[in-house]
Amino acid sequence: MCTRAVGGLAHYVEDEGVATTQISLIRPHTEAIKPPRAMWVPFDLGRPLGIPHDAGFQKRVLLSALKLLEESSGPVITDFPEEAPVTREADVIWACPVNLVREKIDLNDANALRAAFKKETVEMRSWYDLAVKEKQRTTVGVSGLEINQIVEFIGAFIDSVPANPREDISLSFSLNFAVDDLKAFYYEAAAAQPGSASPTAEELDDWFWGDTVAAKVLFAVKDRCLKKDDKMMQLLGKILLIPMSQSDTG
């Protein structure tokens, strides 16, 4: 819904006397809102500049959007003419470097599920550490918790309601951010595989939601959230923990 937000923000900022231009990811939203200047791009939601580590492509996107500031009248919507480059040959299949536990888990046994979850995160840890060392960067940290704390906290939700580890935000937001950090931890670890190109968003999603114990835990937590009276917990269960595109995976 961010394209809706940038459309509205542009209207108000321009109305205050500052010229705006914007990238649009959902053309029908931009067509309806009619911000002063917008350039639609045919990229994945979450990737407004196209792809990572292609400075030339990113710069073409950026400059094309900025050049709309020189238009003489509007509202104006243009289309960026290039698709996002494919990062690898189509027949090369990315494989996660981590051999995840394959033994069958009784999803109704909370303790067994928690144990498998913890074991898996320990296995992921060395790849995550490698990724951070190589990139000198991590996006994990929004929850303010360490990975072992995140695993304990999320794991507890399978069959109980743990104490809120933060005093400054509600329990539901603590859970939301802990899940965000957990996913970032897995995705960054999985992308650390040496000697291959970066995995695509689709490959990472298919791997995480299809192959990991962590995803099974999140589906269990989702079911618990749906049974809560709290409005934000309900929202977590409905659309904020599991992407809509993966809602049938569990």
Partner: protein, 154 residues
């Protein structure tokens, strides 16, 4: 790809049925050539520095300031939605906040200067609820002599 017709259900219907604001006016501000402009980036990705408060729908608490010298490792994301890709941002922050690319455009003479501050909202909100913050933001941008704003969604 972010083409509505290619999105799987229920995401496609969720996006297609989103209530959108309709504005009666269409403000337009002219300005100098791009190579004379001072540019700021405003993201709606829920970005902020590691020590900042995350976004939690607290009324009136709608944006975070991103100083121009913020390091890539200091920038994290607390967007409430899980229905967009984050792996691009995890691998390269320029996919969402193209500050490195903006500075390259400056070095190449395409833009006049880069703002001292950039900003991020968390875009999972009706923009009409952001009006007051957006108008306040415009004042901050003018204080920084910004005359060109690039808004970037996720």
């Amino acid at each position: 790809m972010a083409r509505l017709e290619n999105m799987p259900e229920p995401q496609r219907s969720h996006i297609a049925n989103t209530k959108l604001p309709a504005f009666d006016s269409h403000p337009w501000v002219d300005g100098p050539a791009l190579n004379m402009r001072r540019i700021a980036i405003v993201s709606t990705a829920g970005l902020h520095r590691r020590d900042d408060m995350p976004f939690t729908f607290e009324p009136g608490d709608n944006y975070r300031i991103i100083p121009g010298d913020t390091a890539a490792d200091d920038l994290i994301m607390s967007h409430v939605s899980t229905n967009f890709d984050r792996s691009g941002f995890q691998q390269d922050w320029n996919v969402v906040l193209p500050l490195d690319r903006l500075h390259e455009l400056l070095e190449e003479g395409h833009i006049g200067s880069v703002a001292r501050f950039h900003y991020s909202f968390m875009g999972a909100m009706d923009p009409r609820d952001l009006e007051q913050s957006a108008r306040k933001l415009a004042g901050l941008l003018k204080d920084d002599s910004v005359d060109g704003v690039l808004l970037v969604p996720v």
